[in-house]
Structure formats: structure tokens, C-alpha cells
């Protein structure tokens, strides 16, 4: 659980302005959904939160502290794909995070600590509905199962902030309802602050507690790259009371 302050953040690549003057205060346990046309800097914004890209100007603070300029265990990420480790089984993919944090040099646990980590990973695996797939490799899992695993992999490390980059974009529409339930229950249980990019407006309204739309405010037809995108709408959302289990309306 963490607050995030985005203070006058600009991102430019040379003469091209991608994002201009972002100013946001995100409170604890917020579920921020982000929509916008492609090329509007949504992913750049997420990358800056992740620490892979740095703002050209301005500052990002997490709990009042400047963001470390590289990815770290306080910020989990789920990409659209490719974020699982193909050489590890589902269970090993989950245990990895625990092992990395507890065994500095070998990155592996042995004996009782290993059994404890395996037990914990097994529980998390069950909780995301992958108990039966524990010994399968990622390539043997369906797209939906891979995304569940990738989410679980981040959540097991208990990040304060979870970043989701179109996590359900590559999935069958039929699967997304399940995934929404899963992400909401994890969000409740772990009290994380979530940022999720989505291209699905309805999904963004259903999941989020706050919705941001990214777009260009100004446009110069002579030099389209002169102005960057910014937040055009910042909507607090009313969460429907009967949220979990409710069939999607319409």
C-alpha cells in the first residue's frame, strides 16, 4: 500500500514530447485504470513508474520518497506476455521470488526454508486456480493461465504497487471476467495500489476506483511531435456495492 505523487512530470525524446506536465496524487489502495489512444504515452507513464524510463523533468514520489530509478521489489509488473520464466515450472516460477529475496548469493533455498517457500507458493498457486498445473512449464499453459501465474508471481512478493500493462489484452473475452475477479480479490487482500493500462473502456470503468484518460490537449499540424499527451480526464469512480460475484451488467 502506497501513495504516489507525480509532480510536473515531462517525458521527451529529443524534440518529441511524449508526456507533458503530469500532476497526480494517488492515494493508498487506489485502483487506477488508464485508457487512451495508442501512442499517447500510457506505456511510457507505466515505464516511469516501473523505473525503466526516467522523467525528463519533474519527479515521482512513492510514500514521499523519490522513486528509485530502476525496477525493484516494491513495484510489481505484469506485462501482456513474456514475463514468465520458460525454464521453470509454474510452482518454481512462484517460488523464485521468495528464493531471490531470502537467498542472496545462490538465489536458491534448501531444507526447511525451501519447504516453507514451496508451501507458501503452493497456496498462492491454488488461490489463483492453478493447483493442477504446478509442474507444467509456461509453454504448456494457456494464455489465461500464464497471466494468472504472472500476476501470482508478482503478488507473492507483496509489492506496494502493482503495475499492469494490458494484462488481459491478449486473452479471450470469455476469460476476462474470471481474471477481473482474481485481480480484485488480490487487490483487496494485499491492499496494493494498482495502475492498470487497458484498451477496454468498460473494463476500466468496472475495475478502477479512478480512471485516467491520456490524450493530447494541443495539436500542431505542422509539427505533431511538439506537444505531448497529458491526463485529459481524471474520474473518481463509484464502486458498485455488489461488486464481487455480480454478473456484468449489459
Amino acid at each position: 500500500m502506497a501513495t504516489v505523487s507525480i509532480r510536473n512530470v515531462w517525458k521527451e525524446y529529443g524534440a518529441q514530447v511524449v508526456l507533458e506536465n503530469l500532476r497526480l496524487e494517488i492515494s493508498e489502495h487506489e485502483f487506477v485504470t488508464i485508457v487512451g489512444a495508442s501512442g499517447c504515452g500510457k506505456t511510457t507513464f507505466l515505464k516511469m513508474l516501473l523505473g525503466v524510463e526516467q522523467p525528463t523533468r519533474g519527479q515521482i514520489l512513492i510514500d514521499g520518497e523519490p522513486l528509485r530509478p530502476e525496477p525493484g521489489p516494491d513495484r510489481g509488473i505484469v506485462f501482456q506476455r513474456y514475463s514468465l520464466f520458460p525454464h521453470l515450472t509454474a510452482l518454481e516460477n512462484l517460488v523464485l521470488g521468495l528464493e531471490l529475496q531470502r537467498s542472496r548469493w545462490l538465489g536458491r533455498l534448501f531444507g526447511a526454508p525451501r519447504r516453507a517457500a514451496l508451501k507458501r507458493a503452493g497456496e498462492v498457486l491454488e488461490s489463483v486456480g492453478l493447483g493442477a498445473a504446478r509442474d507444467r512449464y509456461p509453454a504448456q499453459l494457456s494464455g489465461g493461465m500464464q497471466q494468472r501465474l504472472s500476476i501470482a508471481q508478482s503478488v507473492i512478493c507483496e509489492p506496494k504497487i502493482l503495475l499492469l500493462d494490458e494484462p488481459f489484452g491478449a486473452l479471450d473475452p470469455g476469460l476476462t471476467a474470471d481474471m477481473h475477479q482474481l485481480i480484485l480479490s488480490l487487490w483487496e487482500a494485499n491492499r496494493m495500489t494498482i495502475f492498470m493500462i487497458s484498451h477496454d473502456i468498460r473494463e476500466s470503468f468496472e475495475l478502477g476506483t479512478r480512471l485516467l484518460t491520456f490524450d493530447r490537449l494541443r495539436h500542431d499540424p505542422q509539427s505533431p511531435e511538439a506537444f505531448g499527451a497529458s491526463v485529459t480526464y481524471d474520474l473518481p469512480l463509484q464502486r458498485r456495492a455488489a461488486r464481487p460475484g455480480a454478473p456484468p451488467a449489459g
Partner: protein, 271 residues
């Protein structure tokens, strides 16, 4: 009638088709050999198959009068020892360098140009230097092979390491991995099957450099023997030796392929 590209041979037919060119070559050899022998009974160029068997028997099962060794086996052992040591050393060097070059940008900037340059040196051109510096013994031969193949393995593996999806490397950092842990738990394990592929591709050049080194300075070894008996036009030794080298190389390639399949099932599943 289906199109040719849609007609797939069954298992038996595949084996038969695969064996066919070998059979054809063998039959052609026998015919050619008999034609030449019929014209000149003392012909040395294409000796009859019986001559191969006689020579093999004496080389493999009779002690050499001068050295008291079974030449065929001592040659084989000498060559394999050199080849395997060189492969092992090259694999270790290649893997270590490639991990660092592929993942750590500073080390890539530092070492990548050097490795690329070294890979372009024709190894046989430095053979005299090796002989001068480390002498004519085993070290020189093994070093020649290592110089020949380690840079290629390094470059290949460094490319593979750099090809790992960025998503993976970012993800593992968000799980708290240090650079060292990332190398150890994410990059290295994924490099093993690629190392095997790389070794398989290097086998041909490794044999080339081995034979070259043995031909120039050696007292035993498969390459040494071939170049020794060349003076006597002893095709009855040369041809079986070449066939034996081929068989050894093919077997090593097959063993590596099996190892890859057994030890890294995930790499097969992922394609």
C-alpha cells in the same frame, strides 16, 4: 495425387531413404575400385574393401611393433582427449563471457569489440605463435581449437542472452533479483540448451583445427596418422580413419542432441 509437399514418408521409408545415398556411394566405390584393380592389380588409390578390414584388424587388434600400442585406439584416445578438453574449455569460456557480455552493458562495451576482433583472426595463422610460446605439446593443440571455436561460441551465446525478452529481465528485478541472481537464476539456466546447440555447430570446426594441429606437430592422433601414411598413399588406412572420424563426430552430435532433449524438456516445449 497429392502435391509433393504434402506427401510425407513413414518411419520405415524415412530410414530407407536416408540410407539410400550411403548405399549408392558404397556401391559406386566398390565398382570403381574393382575397375581400377582389374586394370592394375597394384593400384593404391581405391583399395578393395578387404584391404580396409585387414588394415583395421592390424591397427585395432595387433600391437604396434615399435610402440607396443594398439595404434587405432591410442590415436582415437589421443584425439578425443584433445577435442573434449578443448570443447569443455571453450564452453566454459564462452558461457562465462557471453553471460557478462549479453547482460551487463558496461562489460558488453568493454569486451564485445575484442571478442568480435578475436573471432576474425584465422586460428591457423596463430598456430606458429602457439608453437613458439607454449611448445609443440598438447597445450598448443588444445589452445588452437579453443582459439578457433571459443569466440564463435561466445558471440553466439551473447546474442542469445541479449535476445531474452526484456520483460523477463524487468520482471525478475521486480521480484528483487540482483544482477548476480538474475544471471544465476534466469539467464544461465536458459543458456544451457543454447550452449549445446552452439557446441554442436562448433563440432565441425573443432575437428578441423584438431586435425590441422595434429598434422603439423604430433606423435599420435587420428590426424597425425592420416598425414603420416599419406606419404605411402596408404588409402587403406586413410579412408577407414576418415570414416571413423566422421562416425565419432556424428555420434557426438547425436549425444549432444539427446542430452538437450533429456535435460531441458522446457526448451523443447517452447520450440
Amino acid at each position: 495425387m497429392r502435391r509433393l509437399i504434402n506427401q510425407r514418408p513413414g518411419r520405415g521409408e524415412r530410414l530407407l531413404l536416408g540410407a539410400l545415398p550411403f548405399l549408392v556411394l558404397a556401391v559406386l566405390y566398390v565398382i570403381a575400385s574393382q575397375l581400377r584393380l582389374a586394370a592394375n592389380a597394384g593400384d593404391k588409390l581405391l583399395p578393395p574393401v578387404s584391404a580396409f578390414l585387414d588394415t583395421l584388424r592390424s591397427y585395432a587388434f595387433e600391437e604396434d611393433l615399435r610402440s607396443g600400442q594398439y595404434l587405432f585406439w591410442s590415436d582415437t584416445w589421443a584425439s578425443l582427449r584433445r577435442l573434449l578438453s578443448a570443447l569443455l574449455i571453450s564452453a566454459a569460456i564462452g558461457l562465462a563471457l557471453a553471460l557478462a557480455i549479453g547482460v551487463v552493458p558496461r562489460i558488453r562495451a568493454l569486451l564485445s569489440p575484442l571478442v568480435n576482433a578475436v573471432a576474425m583472426i584465422p586460428p591457423l595463422a596463430v598456430l606458429p605463435i602457439l608453437f613458439i610460446i607454449v611448445g609443440l605439446e598438447e597445450t598448443a593443440k588444445i589452445t588452437l581449437i579453443v582459439i578457433g571455436i571459443a569466440p564463435c561460441i561466445t558471440r553466439d551465446l551473447a546474442l542469445r542472452a541479449a535476445e531474452l525478452p526484456t520483460e523477463q529481465l524487468i520482471k525478475v528485478q521486480t521480484l528483487g533479483a540482483s544482477t548476480w541472481q538474475l544471471l544465476l537464476r534466469v539467464v544461465l539456466p536458459q543458456m544451457w540448451p543454447r550452449l549445446i546447440d552452439s557446441l554442436r555447430l562448433s563440432l565441425g570446426s573443432a575437428w578441423l583445427f584438431l586435425i590441422a594441429a595434429e598434422a603439423i606437430a604430433s606423435t599420435e592422433g587420428l590426424g597425425y596418422r592420416i598425414f603420416l601414411v599419406r606419404r605411402y598413399l596408404a588409402m587403406d588406412v586413410i579412408l577407414p580413419y576418415v570414416a571413423w572420424i566422421t562416425l565419432l563426430a556424428v555420434t557426438m552430435d547425436w549425444l549432444l542432441r539427446q542430452l538437450r532433449r533429456r535435460a531441458f524438456p522446457w526448451a523443447e516445449a517452447g520450440g
